[in-house]
């Protein structure tokens, strides 16, 4: 199927592929968007398992009431570092990796706009997470005040906090550089004829996400810098004794924090919007509505931050404003869900693993959206705040949302990356095992929260025992299921014998399917010539 688009590569696949020779030259000094994408994805998978191991410790301790296995300090380290590793080490780098691999392929660019900066932004990550994880072995331990680092609690431990803050700075610089690169690639490197409103939705969502990143990661950097100077240089930004205000940290943190949660979900929206049309064999319903909904979600995400702090004692007007603004977000989000369902409506659907994960995403993410709307109701939030209900909410949107979309994307594009098909049978086993266990894991946490079980506590009232045990069983099961994922990916990359065609999925549209599988080291060195029908959305703007 690869015609004119890749005429420079069709004839001679790997021979003129000019991969750098030698392991170090190829991987450490790489400036190739595909290799860097691969590095990001491998790093993210590693962090997913490290963060997952911490979650297993948390669920093991919570298996029964009473203090069983670990010290409270260590438990607190686990909750804090689990979250930091999963957010900044697993989910965000996975999306950046997917963006690296796919955005140039999708817009017909030969590489990212700033290939050398790309190398930098990846290699900062191992530095950041090496630092963060090393704090676990320092006297006084790692951060114990939660990933939100609220002072004064977060400043009351040992000096590990200084290293954690430095790690956040470095990871933040990495994300900002990655975002700049993505913006430059999308704005400058599109193939002729690839108008903005013809771009795949995944590219659109990444463009908007990248703007969110450059707007809020520096705010986080500022907030943690102030923490650092409060602890070590005698400033009193947040120190009540010196005239500061700890609540102000929460405002600054959540001004970053709420857009951050959308940073972790907008690319997921994009992925699902690529996969569902492919397997429903129908164009995406409401392409432009998807783009505008994404943009309005991004805009609204800047004016809802205080829904994380309804209980700090805001004036009534503030509570009402943030309540209604938060509920407003449910509208563009609802538009998206409606469009995905309409895309499937009367489609000739097949249920390969990527589609299963995408459908799982739509259903389960929506449950997370519903609990979000419940939390947005101020008087209700007074009861739910800081309970397991919040934990259930954000794991539905982040695990069955963001993480499911990353897995869907992996299955969807893995044949394009490796040139081989993964095992559909084991992919399906992975899906069903994950989707059942994840609900066993997180659904009971709604009930625990409604009954009043506080989050981030290693021990609990015996009244909560049964649901916690169910949740822990679901947790171990979900954790083990991910070993299947690892197995499928490793098998596909190194052992699979089934060659993948250029257009891996029958209904797939877009430039990435015009190049052979595996995608050659260099693609689109000559810009592709767009033909009618090549793009998924080529007639929307006419």
């Amino acid at each position: 199927m690869a015609h004119a688009a890749t005429h420079d590569h069709v004839a001679h696949d790997d021979h003129h592929d000019h991969k750098p020779q030698g392991f170090i030259a190829r991987w450490c000094f790489s400036t190739n968007h595909k290799d860097i994408g691969t590095l990001y994805l491998i790093f993210s998978l590693l962090m997913f398992f490290i963060g997952g191991a911490m979650a297993m410790i948390i669920r093991a301790e919570l298996f029964q009431p009473g203090m069983q296995l670990v010290e409270p300090d260590f438990f607190n380290e686990m909750t804090s570092v689990h979250a930091l590793v999963m957010i900044f080490g697993a989910v965000m780098p996975a999306f950046v990796g997917l963006g690296n691999w796919m955005i140039p392929l999708m817009v017909g660019a030969p590489d990212m706009a700033l290939p050398r900066m790309n190398n930098w932004s990846f290699w900062l990550l191992p530095v950041a997470f090496g630092l963060l994880l090393s704090t676990l072995f320092m006297p006084g331990g790692g951060p114990q005040g939660g990933w939100t680092l609220y002072p004064p609690l977060s400043l009351q431990g040992g000096n590990g906090i200084a290293f954690s803050i430095l790690a956040i700075h470095v990871a933040g610089i990495s994300s900002i550089m990655g975002a700049i690169n993505i913006i430059a690639t999308i704005l400058n490197m599109r193939a002729p004829g690839m108008d903005l409103l013809k771009m795949p939705v995944f590219v659109w969502t990444w463009l908007i996400t990248a703007f969110l990143l450059i707007a809020v990661m520096p705010v986080l950097a500022g907030a943690v810098t102030m923490l650092l100077t409060d602890k070590y240089f005698g400033t009193s930004f947040f120190n009540a004794a010196g005239g500061g205000d700890p609540v102000m940290f929460q405002h600054i943190f959540w001004f970053f924090g709420h857009p951050e949660v959308y940073i972790m979900i907008l690319p997921a929206f994009g992925i699902v919007s690529e996969i569902i049309p492919t397997f429903a064999r129908k164009p995406l319903f409401g392409y432009q509505a998807m783009v505008y909904a994404t943009a309005s979600i991004a805009f609204l995400s800047f004016i809802v931050w205080a829904h994380h702090m309804f209980t700090v004692g805001m004036p009534l007007g503030g509570e009402l404003f943030f309540m209604y603004a938060t509920m407003l977000i449910a509208i563009p989000t609802g538009v998206k869900v409606f469009n995905w369902v309409s895309t499937m409506w009367e489609g000739s659907m097949t249920f390969e693993t990527p589609m299963l994960f995408a459908i799982g995403f739509v259903i389960l993410f929506t449950i997370g959206g519903f609990s979000g709307v419940m939390l947005a109701i101020v008087p209700a939030d007074f009861q739910y705040h800081d309970t397991y209900f919040v934990v259930a909410h954000f794991h539905y949107v982040l695990v069955t949302g963001a993480v499911f979309s990353i897995m869907a994307a992996t299955y969807y594009w893995l044949p394009k990356w490796t040139g081989h098909m993964y095992s559909e049978r084991w992919g399906k086993i992975h899906f069903w095992s994950s989707v059942i266990s994840v609900n066993v894991l997180f659904f009971p946490q709604h009930f625990l929260g409604l009954a009043g079980m506080p989050r981030r506590i290693p021990d609990y009232n015996v009244a909560f025992a049964d649901f916690n045990m169910i949740s822990s069983i679901g947790g171990f099961w979900f954790g083990l299921s991910q070993l299947i994922f690892l197995g499928v990916v490793v098998h596909c990359a190194f052992f699979s014998k089934v060659k993948a065609p250029a257009r891996v999925w029958e209904g797939a549209k877009g430039l990435e399917w015009e190049v052979p599988s595996p995608a050659p080291h260099h693609t689109f060195s000559v810009p592709p010539v767009l033909k009618p029908g090549m793009l998924a959305h080529d007639d929307v703007s006419h």
Partner: protein, 196 residues
């Protein structure tokens, strides 16, 4: 929109703009501190700075004997501060507009001089704008030598404009150790810390 831009030419412009946006965002994080104060004090009517009210405001207030408001007092110390701290009376009924004086007692139970700062809070928070202190130990640092005890006054007036549905107010204080000031005191040992 119809030609591929040579990457390097246009990328520079995008990089410049995005870097400026990032730098502004970084500064905005710091700017939120004054902005927050302005928003609270000018727009939302929340009192942050807890300085004494001016004599003029006090003189202007006329006593509203038609009703009385019950004021409750709470005192606590942050767990890191080895002090005891308590109000002498736990509740008192006052008329709005009436100047009232109450006393709190603090004692340093450790064997070193420590500087503490008391942070006040008024509940319900919507009424805090109507609670005016003319004098308070919370306006200044309090230095207590090892084992020293001190009686400290608070003088306040409840603004007669207090909404009528508020019949009870709680004034609470938490004492925190001011570590920097304590360190400064420790560095000037020799001169025994003078309570002031």
């Amino acid at each position: 929109m119809n030609t591929v831009a040579a990457p390097t030419r246009n990328a520079r412009g995008v990089v410049r703009i995005t870097l400026i946006v990032s730098a502004c965002a970084f500064l905005f994080g710091f700017a939120m501190i004054p902005l927050y104060r302005i928003a609270c004090e000018q727009v939302l009517g929340i009192k942050l700075e807890d300085g004494p009210v001016t004599g003029r405001a006090v003189a202007a207030a006329s006593v509203d004997t038609s009703r009385s408001v019950r004021i409750q007092f709470l005192a606590s110390v942050n767990s890191k501060l080895p002090w005891t701290f308590a109000p002498e009376v736990t509740r008192i009924d006052v008329h709005p507009g009436e100047l009232t004086e109450v006393w709190f007692d603090a004692a340093n139970t450790s064997d070193a001089a420590i500087v503490g700062n008391a942070v006040p809070s008024v509940a319900p928070n919507t009424a805090s704008a109507f609670f005016n202190k003319t004098e308070c130990f919370c306006f200044t640092e309090q230095l207590l030598a090892a084992g020293e005890a001190r009686r400290m006054p608070v003088r306040f007036i409840v603004d007669p404009a207090l909404p009528r549905d508020v019949t009870e107010l709680t004034l609470s204080y938490t004492f925190y150790e001011n570590t920097d000031a304590t360190r400064r005191v420790a560095e000037t040992v020799g001169a025994p810390p003078h309570a002031g």
